[in-house]
Symmetry: C2
Subunit: 132 residues, 2 copies
């Protein structure tokens, strides 16, 4: 630990948001990381994106859609959930712009909205593979 760090040991950093009563151990790190932090909006959006993906039904839906464009009833069969449950899940995914769909007659064909989503799921399964 540097002398410079040692000197600032018990100083409090301006939290510029709320009264957080925690001491700072390494003010240099705190300032450095804070400068890199994304905007509150981006953080909020990303958290909502992850939250939407944080459900087995929706993980299966997104994975399935990363392989094929699929209609709601086939998705329901594949993921083993009711049509209603899948439709509600698709709405959540749509609202986060994770999936889109095209209507052909009475059938709605869903697919992933962009290539980030497929990579997100793949990266996730890569991480999980080491846990099972």
């Amino acid at each position: 630990m540097s002398a410079r760090t040692e000197l600032k040991k018990t100083r409090k950093v301006d939290t510029n948001d709320d009264a957080c009563e925690v001491n700072v151990v390494d003010a240099r790190k705190v300032t450095s990381v804070r400068r890199k932090m994304h905007s509150a909006d981006a953080v909020q959006l990303l958290a909502e994106t992850f939250r939407v993906l944080g459900d087995p039904t929706r993980v299966k839906i997104v994975f399935a859609l990363s392989k094929e464009e699929l209609c709601v009833c086939d998705l329901a069969t594949i993921v083993g959930a009711s049509q209603s449950a899948v439709s509600h899940s698709l709405r959540a995914l749509r609202q986060m712009e994770l999936v889109r769909y095209r209507k052909q007659g009475k059938i709605a064909y869903y697919s992933l909205d962009d290539e980030h989503i497929g990579r997100l799921i793949d990266e996730g399964f890569d991480h999980v593979r080491e846990l099972v």
Copy 2:
């Protein structure tokens, strides 16, 4: 206690893959996608991983740890949450093996558990950047 032994707890499995009364539009697609689907355990684990990341406090924590190894109190300052809230969040992240820590005296230094996590967050922010 290792993070590995903490990983267990609430794992719920849905085994009802039969009560689905939906017609199939394209049986070839259904069979093809089904064959590629990951195991129920992997899907469950990935959903839990995403769910843990689906919270602004924890997104900030993981992002911060992708830049620096940090102790709990500095994390609390950076993300603007109480020490208790951060500690609870870190436990959830630990249980999913997203972060690990080393103890040095009374200070616990946290860091990301592997490089997948940092890429997951980066990929997520890439997706989100197009929404804001």
